[in-house]
């Protein structure tokens, strides 16, 4: 599916960083277990399974049981990473996520694999674009969408040491490492990818590198946007959003439905605390079938598209 793109130099399928990190963590801490719904391959847990066969709990195709079992494992003192395609993990088992994980506050790490439109050709039943909106009101869950392989590894490590429920929204669409010096992963804090003064572009996950590329394009036209990597959706870094709003206009970008996810969060925050024009980029609803790359282009989720939307946002600022 993404074979051609995977061969692009410097682009990584972040599932590899996830797999390497979770194996290393499990080697150090015997309490770490993985829970899957027949998703060993798509979760890249084949290596984990070989090294720690007993600690890979495969419940078969049963997501509600999978999440409940995760809660039970946590009750018993284990640290479960419940890993499955995010469309089924969050959709099929949403009540378990709400009641057994968020409300009961069990120390479970939900790992949504192949989020967004990674399964583009398979159609909307396999797209996971509503997950951010579904989970955002469950504020007991820390929601993180890593932007690249480095951040994926850091987020997995952070999740393992954090006491409390976490949702790691991982993607399989190959992305380059962000070119930021001296990085330090801080859950709950936005990361500045490009500094700027004309407007702000707030992105998460697979769209962050595209937002950075858009900023570079705009710089050539004399427009200087600040680009923020808003990896943590819950809790939202209000200070960073306020700072972004101070520049006068915001564009949000996410591999998700524009209703209720990152765009929704930014729109809510600014409407209440710092009203500025906000243009949300992402998917309007169910999208057509097509490759992930085709879908990104179709919805303007590329450097040129984001730059064009940024210029429109600037127009709104000037009115």
């Amino acid at each position: 599916m993404a074979a051609a793109a995977e061969k692009r130099t410097g682009f990584h399928d972040c599932r590899d960083a996830w797999a390497t990190t979770i194996e290393a963590l499990a080697a150090e801490n015997p309490k770490i277990v993985a829970v899957v719904n027949d998703s060993v391959g798509s979760s890249k847990l084949g290596g984990f399974q070989k090294k720690f066969p007993e600690r890979l709990v495969n419940v078969g195709i049963a997501e509600q049981n999978m999440v409940g079992v995760g809660a039970g494992l946590a009750n018993g003192g284990h640290i479960p990473f419940v890993s499955a395609a995010s469309c089924f993990l969050t959709g099929r088992a949403l009540e378990q996520v709400k009641a057994d994980i968020a409300y009961a506050r069990f120390n479970v790490k939900l790992v949504g694999q192949s989020s967004g439109i990674a399964y583009g050709e398979l159609g909307p039943t396999h797209h996971s674009i509503e997950d951010l909106a579904w989970l955002r009101p469950l504020d007991a869950i820390t929601v993180i969408t890593p932007a690249d392989a480095w951040e994926t590894a850091e987020a997995v490590k952070w999740a393992a040491s954090h006491e409390g429920p976490v949702y790691l929204r991982l993607s399989r669409m190959p992305v380059p490492d962000l070119d930021i010096a001296n990085r330090q992963f801080r859950a709950g804090k936005a990361e500045t990818v490009r500094d700027g003064s004309d407007l702000s572009i707030i992105a998460c996950g697979t769209t962050v590198h595209l937002a950075a590329a858009a900023a570079d394009l705009l710089a050539k036209r004399g427009v200087s946007p600040r680009v923020l990597n808003m990896a943590t959706l819950n809790p939202l870094d209000g200070e960073a959003v306020a700072g972004a709003a101070a520049l006068g206009a915001i564009v949000t970008v996410e591999e998700a439905n524009i209703h209720g996810g990152l765009g929704g969060a930014i729109a809510e925050f600014t409407a209440e605390h710092a009203p500025v024009p906000v243009k949300r980029m992402g998917f309007p609803g169910f999208v057509p079938t097509g490759s992930a790359e085709w879908l990104f282009d179709h919805y303007g989720l590329n450097a040129e598209g984001i730059a064009a939307t940024a210029l429109k946002a600037l127009e709104l600022k000037r009115r």
Partner: protein
């Protein structure tokens, strides 16, 4: 023999106290699920006062037996059991259903000691109990996990996902008790969405299944206190019960699922529950 009789007598004493006190809780709050409380009380009393290994002073003790109240609405039964077991004092029971009380309509493990998971939406207890049992398997622990479901509750599919896995993994330290009072909110279970033959269903899922009178403490003790080490399968105990057991006007009446007594009804119940 005398020891066993003493144990059963003690359990019956506790169960009587639980019935009286739970009904008073529901009467004072004018809210609750007394029918389902009363069908479950003998089962729960047997578990807490005759079977389970726990220490209220150490609610997080790793080797504790776990009890999951999957029919989470029967808080009259659960809260009086936890009180009698020593997790908190009786004055807590007077706060039942009050604003910001620790004793709300469904149990919360975050502020009520002795509660293992936050149940309420039916069908959640079995997956969690299965996870606890798997955790015990991985830790080579000897703790037991007990989960109590309603029978109507078993219409939820998530129970069967868990049952399938528990059977596959031979979770011999997991015991399910079904409060088989044959009623659900509206009417009978068999008229709504039939469960029978329930024991055959569990055997087909790889469980051992036995039927027992859910109000016969001696029978409950015999089947629940047995050492699981000798088993190779999880155990399902179908406890045949009467919704509202112990109070004449409540017995077998669906309306008492969440009915509340007026003053006169309360007095009648207190006279009958001796």
């Amino acid at each position: 023999m005398t020891e066993k009789n003493d144990a059963a007598s003690r359990i019956r004493e506790k169960a009587l106290w639980m019935r009286r006190r739970a009904f008073r809780m529901v009467h004072e709050a004018q809210l609750g699920h007394p029918g389902g409380d009363f069908s479950a009380i003998d089962i729960i009393a047997t578990l807490y006062f005759g079977v389970m290994h726990f220490d209220p002073a150490r609610p997080d003790m790793a080797e504790r037996d776990r009890f999951i109240m999957s029919k989470g609405h029967a808080t009259g039964a659960l809260y009086t059991a936890l009180c009698a077991a020593g997790y908190y004092t009786e004055d807590w029971l007077s706060t039942y259903m009050q604003p910001q009380s620790k004793l709300n309509g469904h149990p919360n493990r975050n502020y009520l000691p002795g509660v293992e998971t936050n149940t309420g939406p039916l069908g959640h207890g079995m997956p969690v109990a299965t996870g606890i049992a798997i955790s015990g398997q991985l830790s080579r622990s000897t703790h037991r996990t007990f989960v109590l479901t309603g029978d109507g509750e078993l219409q939820e599919g998530s129970n069967w996902e868990a049952a399938m896995l528990a059977g596959s993994r031979r979770l011999n330290r997991l015991t399910l008790i079904v409060d088989r009072n044959r009623l659900q909110q509206g009417m009978g279970t068999e008229e709504t969405n039939g469960l029978d033959p329930l024991d055959d269903k569990f055997r087909a899922f790889g469980w051992d299944a036995v039927m027992v009178d859910g109000h016969d403490v001696d029978a409950l003790l015999a089947v629940l206190a047995g050492d699981p080490a000798g088993r190779s399968k999880p155990l399902c105990v179908i406890a045949n019960t009467v919704k509202g057991k112990g109070v004449s006007y409540m017995e077998n009446k669906a309306a008492w699922h969440h009915g509340v007594p007026n003053a006169e009804q309360f007095e009648i119940a207190m006279e009958e529950l001796v």
